[in-house]
Symmetry: C2
Subunit: 417 residues, 2 copies
């Protein structure tokens, strides 16, 4: 079979998505799964629970791609109309599926509930569809093939959708011979997106049409992704390696990792590998650095804790920062942040520490130390180094950029040991 | 002017959204802001950085609604092509805007950076647009009116977009005479969404077509929103008051607030009003409670800090939890969590404290204390009360539900003083 660039459009149905009530994480989860299955998502559309809107959208997207992936509107309430729309679109009828009914009965019994009429309708599916079973809920998913095209429909409940994605992607892989696809990731710190794009202009001009470079800046880190997609696997591999090497060389002063991984996870992995422990002392970030480190399972292997010293009183009562230094230098100073890092190292008896003190805003700035001024210190038993940054005027950006920079400085300190 | 039901379509541009790398929170933020401005969002579309795709999409959506709201593609890299598309669509030219250039120069100087050619292009805007200034970054937003229609374009960086939304919504309000709209919010704790919807079935049946009830469950809290929209203001007010009173009565055992506000902010406001201070002692949440409290400006008025004791060693070295109690009862116990709450109260010299200790998983569970078991204690100088919860097996859900419940228990303790 000829290899093809298979394209998909994701359709999310639900009024709640159009009034800003719910973040559309389903689209992200599906897009990621399809991307990994070598399917190119060309569009994501969200519309409300409106029959005419759904039908005219179906008409359009069915023409424009190979795979239409619908979520939502499969519940038992009045505004759940996806099945009716699918029947009308494919000129199909609902029929009761015994295997689905059995699953629903089993699930209801398990939860000590009876089988109401409205729940029973969940076993009614368009004749034209194959069933994708729902591990975590009542409404099954639907797989409808027509020539080389495919329509998929799943519930909008994220856990139910996620429980079906693996089976769906397996079936897609069997159905389509997709293009080969290679992604290479670069994580950079210390250069802005705009400077980097100036620097990489020539590089980008040399790229063939089937290899693309994407810039994904996030809180001071620029993630670069080189993605290639081609029918010829050998050619693609050769060209991807060639351009990845070029990119590696061009960005070597800034690239600190070659994978698409959270910095807190990279740092944690490094600490675990080396058998080191760490702690944080936080002022302006208010516990954000600690919470990002502990977001990952197994953090207790290397993370012992944090002192969040949000007041000067806490800085000297708990962190034992010298009161006079605090008064003469101010909380946002090299001296104080170094004392915070050194003291938390001793107090929590760890190998490495990071401390931050800054002005997150919107108030609290002075002409000498405007909002966004942040001191960050990293320490081990032998040394402590501190640096001053200016992270702008937006409170959330200041705390998030501080967090990323603190993690990065600690990562560098340990790597360079 | 005749009042109208003004409809909008949101267009988010960016390859990163189509491969599942980034969750499209911008669409949610814009949809919420437009909803509050009485604008009905009828569709959200995401497409990649592809000129032809953008242009044909623009052609379609411009016909189908009053307001097209575009984000993304306004940076300085090659894949940022929104401005070129807008120029082509409106048959307009780019021109340098002196006031934008001045802002960019100022911003670059503040950050100690020079003005490169690519940065300078940010001051080039389509002739046909009015400038929406960017408080938090370089690329300005664009406001383009044509007859009764409106095209908006903002950067895709969330903080930059958010910094522009208020100005944009103000201008929209001035331009359009929209339908009247009333939202009423209810915040409930202690009842599940499904039980609540059973309880409110009759209530929902009585609602007229122009009043809708939405359920927004989030980490143990159910937010209810009653929204009405109608051309007749007096009728709408009367009916909304009538049904809000009914809903208030039906949910009085569970409702603790009547506004759509973050619990950390409600708690903070209460503490400030009463002149109280607080601190946290956190084990399984790893600083998440502290970071949610300090996410809001002015938190230093009432929040003095936190001890994140992620290891037993930190629990007795810093929090002075009795070693024997820790060994005999285990870290996840009523005794330990109460000692954590009482000790952090003294150590940080505050009026109120909350402490949590639990098993966030995926490992660390035992038959007696399975993953998801969490003890939470709240304390003031006179009393300490603790409660045990089971928050499921999903790590992120466990820490987030713990955080919400900790904030809620502290809120109740202070309210009931």
């Amino acid at each position: 079979m000829q290899k093809e660039n298979i394209q998909a459009i994701i359709v999310n149905i639900g009024d709640e998505l159009l009034i800003g009530q719910v973040v559309n994480t389903n689209a992200t989860v599906i897009a990621e799964a399809l991307h990994k299955t070598n399917i190119q998502v060309k569009e994501v559309v969200t519309i409300g629970d409106d029959k005419n809107a759904i039908l005219s959208l179906l008409q359009r997207v069915w023409e424009e791609c190979h795979i239409v992936f619908i979520t939502g509107g499969l519940g038992t309430t009045n505004d759940d109309i996806t099945k009716a729309c699918i029947c009308e679109f494919f000129n199909s009828q609902l029929q009761e599926r015994p295997e689905v009914l059995k699953h629903i009965e089993h699930l209801r019994k398990e939860r000590g509930l009876c089988l109401s009429d409205s729940v029973r309708t969940q076993a009614m599916l368009p004749e034209c569809c194959q069933v994708i079973s729902n591990k975590h809920g009542l409404a099954p998913g639907m797989w409808i093939e027509k020539q080389n095209k495919l329509l998929l429909a799943t519930p909008g409940v994220p856990s139910e959708l996620m429980g079906m994605l693996e089976e769906i992607c397996q079936k897609i892989k069997q159905k389509y011979q997709t293009w080969h696809k290679i992604d290479k990731h670069f994580k950079l710190m210390g250069i802005s997106e705009s400077l980097l794009s100036d620097k990489l202009q020539d590089f980008e001009r040399q790229l063939p049409t089937y290899i693309k470079l994407a810039y994904l800046p996030k809180m001071g880190i620029v993630n670069l992704r080189l993605s290639g997609s081609h029918a010829d696997k050998d050619l693609l591999e050769k060209e991807m390696n060639f351009f990845a090497d070029k990119l590696k060389e061009a960005t070597q002063d800034y690239t600190f990792a070659f994978e698409d991984t959270d910095l807190a996870l990279l740092l944690g992995r490094l600490l675990r590998e080396k058998g080191y422990t760490m702690a944080t002392a936080e002022s302006c970030t208010g516990g954000l650095i600690a919470s990002q480190i502990t977001a990952f399972a197994g953090a207790s292997d290397y993370f012992k804790g944090s002192i969040v010293a949000y007041s000067n009183e806490t800085k000297y009562n708990v962190l034992h920062v010298d009161k006079q230094v605090l008064e003469t230098q101010g909380a946002v100073s090299q001296e104080v942040v170094c004392l915070m890092a050194k003291n938390v190292l001793k107090l929590l008896n760890v190998d490495f520490s990071v401390a931050v003190s800054g002005i997150a805003g919107p108030s609290g700035g002075t002409p000498q130390k405007p909002v966004g001024t942040v001191w960050i210190a990293v320490a081990n038993k032998n040394e402590c180094t501190a640096q001053c940054f200016h992270f702008g005027t937006h409170r959330k950006t200041v705390t998030e950029r501080t967090t990323q920079m603190a993690l990065y400085m600690l990562y560098r300190l340990i790597i360079n040991q």
